[in-house]
């Protein structure tokens, strides 16, 4: 009943979203924004997986997206705990200040 959309459009949309995330990681200094950009990249990949899953009528892609979401949730929980610890010690989450491991 619905007219299809070429898979190329989904590939392009995912590529654009992924690259917006990459540019955000490179251009921002706030560590929380960098985390959010990583989430955006994960979502671009998820969209691509779901598009190919629907294209090939195969449920494995969607199950994989489900696992990616679980891993992303774990990553965010640990990462934000580390960030709050860093903020408590340095009073800042500017990654340019955190570029050295000693002192």
């Amino acid at each position: 009943m619905l007219n299809g959309i070429p898979i190329n459009f989904y590939i392009m949309l995912s590529a654009v979203l992924f690259i917006i995330g990459v540019v955000g990681v490179m251009a921002r200094r706030n560590a929380i924004i960098i985390f959010m950009c990583i989430e955006l990249m994960l979502n671009a990949v998820n969209l691509m997986l779901v598009a190919f899953s629907t294209l090939h009528n195969d449920a494995n892609g969607q199950v994989f997206v489900f696992f990616i979401m679980a891993v992303a949730a774990a990553e965010v929980a640990v990462g934000l705990a580390i960030l709050s610890m860093v903020y408590r010690n340095f009073k800042s989450i500017d990654i340019d200040l955190l570029s050295r491991l000693k002192n």
Partner: protein
């Protein structure tokens, strides 16, 4: 409507909104506004999942990402009391180089993926794989072991987050 079907209109609108909100997320100075724009991007991607007949993932996207992960982000932003005035900014040359690298990467990806697959998304017919029933059957038969491993991963993340976040982390206590 101009020769396009409703699905194609929805796809175009959702794509434009997702890209626009993602750009605003990257280029807004205030962290709270960034988080809110990212939530809007997640809603747009959830709409894409609905268009792709992945109803279960659309709901999970809203519940997990917009509901859980972004609330965590907003709590951390609130606890750190971040605002736009003290937001650190990279040097303008660094940002210009970042934009240039992103543009070049986009150029390479579009060039490489241009003729990837000219197929149409299969819709209608037997595209019931996105429903909870069918996904659950696959998840609990074929992917049962990875599913249990994911539960252990989430438990480890929970314990790790609590251990890291404790105020006096004194691991050397005998």
């Amino acid at each position: 409507m101009l020769g396009y079907t409703i699905t194609q209109w929805l796809f175009g609108t959702l794509s434009l909104m997702a890209i626009m909100f993602a750009l605003m997320m990257v280029f807004t100075r205030s962290p709270v506004n960034s988080a809110l724009y990212l939530i809007m991007t997640f809603f747009c991607i959830s709409g894409h999942y609905l268009l792709l007949n992945a109803q279960f993932l659309a709901i999970v996207q809203i519940v997990v990402y917009a509901g859980a992960i972004m609330v965590l982000f907003l709590y951390i932003i609130m606890l750190m009391n971040l605002n736009a005035d003290e937001e650190p900014r990279k040097h303008v040359v660094t940002r210009a180089i970042a934009g240039l690298i992103g543009g070049m990467l986009l150029f390479v990806m579009v060039g490489a993926l241009k003729g990837a697959e000219q197929l149409q998304i299969v819709q209608g017919g037997s595209s019931q794989i996105g429903l909870v029933k069918n996904l659950g059957k696959v998840l609990f038969s074929e992917f049962l072991f990875p599913f249990e491993i994911a539960s252990i991963l989430l438990l480890a993340a929970l314990v790790g987050a609590i251990m890291i976040g404790k105020r006096d982390t004194n691991i050397n206590v005998k």
